[in-house]
Amino acid sequence: MSESVVDIQGVTRRFGPKTALDDVSLTVPRGVVFGLVGANGAGKTTLIKHVLGLLRAETGSVRVFGRDPVADPVGVLSRIGYLSEENDLPGWMRVDELIRYTRAFYPDWDDTYAEELRQTFALDPAARVKNLSKGQRARAGLLIALAYRPSLLLLDEPSSGLDPIVRRDILAAIIRTIADEGRTVLFSSHLLEEVERVADHVTMIDQGKIALSAPLDAIKESHRCLTLRFAESRPQPPVVPGVLVWEGAGQEWTAVCRDGPARLEEAANQWGAQIVAERVPSLDEIFVARVGIPASAVAEE
């Protein structure tokens, strides 16, 4: 028995002519916060729908807690707390009805915890879901995703379009979940700042393919942002392997590179350029360098 909570191997998914997922493999180990990042339409939601068993793997395999989520939806879904951007709660229900209704599905439902969350989130039990503000609706969704202490908390763009205070609640929920021994969080987001705060492992998806997947620490350690000052003004920067993107003008050019700074340092020497600044880029900068730029501008291999 492996310790992985989610195990996806070689999954490809097409919608008509569009390839939404292209031979995607990833493993989410137990007890980590796993961040899934990618531009809109990169395939994050499609991937999450496979984990939930809402889509059947056309090729490859999906296992969650060692089970096939399509063949055994009860065994899988009873252990997942799920919140999506769409957050399609039944609008006609009152908050207390929503809580009672959801509770019926989960033997492990914790009434005390549910009530604690309801109070923390200041959710009026008599309010109709459809009359809640967007933020309160997200909190209601969060409550029913958390109150049975799921083994896996699965959040699909949970913070999208929400104010900072609700986003703070969502981050706190992620942190509390992981702080409880052995539980796991898989969340997708394009708020890289939040991912950088809470993720242990980051997977970047670009056009259905995994562009980068590694522990956040390793990603941060392998990427560097270097500013070079050339002796003379240059119309464009030199081509150096490992440099993902250049930015600058004239004599000063800044590169984001992968695999450490060594190759660029060597190249700088050769070009008679001085390295005037070196730092670790933010996840946001790494993401933009990795997937935000047309492939033609990247000096590969």
């Binding site: 700042e193 242990d200 933010s282």
Partner: protein, 131 residues
């Protein structure tokens, strides 16, 4: 304990915690024997992964800045002086470098700055300091 985490400058969050705790200890805002918040509490307050706080505490422990006491918690260590000294030095050197860089820009040399520092130091001494 006031710590601020930013993700805009690329410094890993655990290192920001390490640096800021060192700074707080060196500047006396965290006293020897003072207890640091539990990992989970600080993680929630800073909105970072608990593993990040755990890693920061481990590094601080290795560096001798804090010590774990059996099961109770993490405390600022009493024996942290050599590092605190080094850390204090680092803080001052940073300021001096910034001063020198600006002074050079404005056309002062190190000798003039040296004299000015003495002058200012004399001027700063409160007149009723003969205690």
């Amino acid at each position: 304990m006031q710590i601020h985490i930013t993700t805009s400058d690329g410094v890993p969050p655990y290192l920001q915690i390490v640096n800021q705790v060192k700074y707080l200890v060196a500047s006396g805002r965290l006293a020897a024997g003072e207890e640091l918040p539990p990992i989970r509490v600080l993680a929630l307050r800073l909105r970072v992964n608990p593993n990040t706080v755990a890693r920061a505490y481990r590094e601080l422990e290795t560096a001798g800045v804090v010590e774990k006491r059996s099961t109770t918690g993490t405390y600022v260590s009493y024996a942290g002086s050599p590092l605190a000294r080094r850390e204090k030095l680092r803080i001052v050197i940073e300021r001096i470098d910034a001063l020198l860089a600006e002074a050079r820009q404005l056309g002062f040399d190190a000798h003039e700055i040296h004299d000015l520092v003495r002058q200012r130091d004399a001027a700063m001494k409160p007149p009723e300091s003969e205690k």
